[in-house]
Symmetry: C2
Subunit: 245 residues, 2 copies
Amino acid sequence: MGNIMLVVAYDGTKYCGWQVQKNAITIEQKIYEACQKLFSREIKIVGASRTDTGVHALGQIVVLKVETSIPINKIPYAINAYLPEDIVIRDAKLVTSSFHPRYNAKNKTYEYKIYNSRFPLPQYNRYAHFYHKSLDIDKMKKAARYFIGEHDFKAFCSTGSSVKTTVREIYKCEVTVEDKMIVISINGNGFLYNMVRIIAGTLIDVGRGKIEPDYIIDIIDSKDRSKAGATAPAKGLTLIKINYD
Amino acid sequence: MGNIMLVVAYDGTKYCGWQVQKNAITIEQKIYEACQKLFSREIKIVGASRTDTGVHALGQIVVLKVETSIPINKIPYAINAYLPEDIVIRDAKLVTSSFHPRYNAKNKTYEYKIYNSRFPLPQYNRYAHFYHKSLDIDKMKKAARYFIGEHDFKAFCSTGSSVKTTVREIYKCEVTVEDKMIVISINGNGFLYNMVRIIAGTLIDVGRGKIEPDYIIDIIDSKDRSKAGATAPAKGLTLIKINYD
């Protein structure tokens, strides 16, 4: 038997992000503990995306290295039995031992939600950033297009991350709105630390008229973090899907 | 100055419904307390709909009988300052002292949400009933149409309620689905106790093949509660809007 790939959804509200760390409850740790209980032995788990504190997921990908006689279609039910309600295994399938959820990922889709209204809605509190001032959606749509393509996104990367290159390719960056809920949908071959949240914060600056849409080109060219907008709050961000070959 | 009409949204998860009662925290009580603090005097509040424990609202209507010098457009901000995050005043306007939120209501719209998938999603846990077996949407759509019109809905009313008549008129009853989320949208001139939840439970019975769509006619005709389906869980229900002349 090879390794097991899991598709995981979670509400990140109560967790200190994905990755196991000391003195903090993380999603990786909860899944690790659930698997330990289920399989009653040492297991190794590897996640595709190290989501931050408060960030949500519908399609996080996790690889479990474990030998088990549980049929693959029963694995989600078996692990879910040991997980809290805010973390759910949605699917499981067998993968070869060479499959790596991060290195083999072809592209990822994130969504950033902004509820743009005079007053917040309790129903949206957990999964959307509330912004009460009026936003010019047409300008935001126009600005979003400038992110598409291969660029050095150094200006859209929080300091403190060590990566070989800050060049990434964005395949899709789209702003849609329905009933005052603005959704920024972005797909790319990889994302820098806080990149989607900084793009969201910058698009909010465009929407409120602080900067013009084509100024996005200048920010990208500057490679200067201080030229881009604020890092928008974590709760608006959801990892939607990770695609593989 | 006349009375003040408020449009209220709430997440009913933590509350024992709308109406003030002893030894339980209700939404009416939270709004009453917030208004007491804000206006520092006796006030009277009347809600349009006595939503049950766990039921949500986007458009509950409340009338406040109070004299105040606070401008009407500032009222929502002022009351919200004293409310918890899961209750929000979305709008306020002046109404005549003869306006009654319940007696003057022309029709109400409710939505009942069913997330129909193999596994639940944490993001939907609070506002949708999770149902894992496959449901035949076309049959549910067909069945929904039989509720439209003026009928005696005694079979769709929980016992324990004392009403003069169990006749109500339903103007719209529609089933839609998007990404495995089934939404039953229903508009009528009034609803009996648990009526929408029993209709939802009965439509689930149609979807899973327990009864045929046209059996809805027989259930209505029977005026027998035991012929209809189970009362679907409260968390799937949201009071969307109350319309007035």
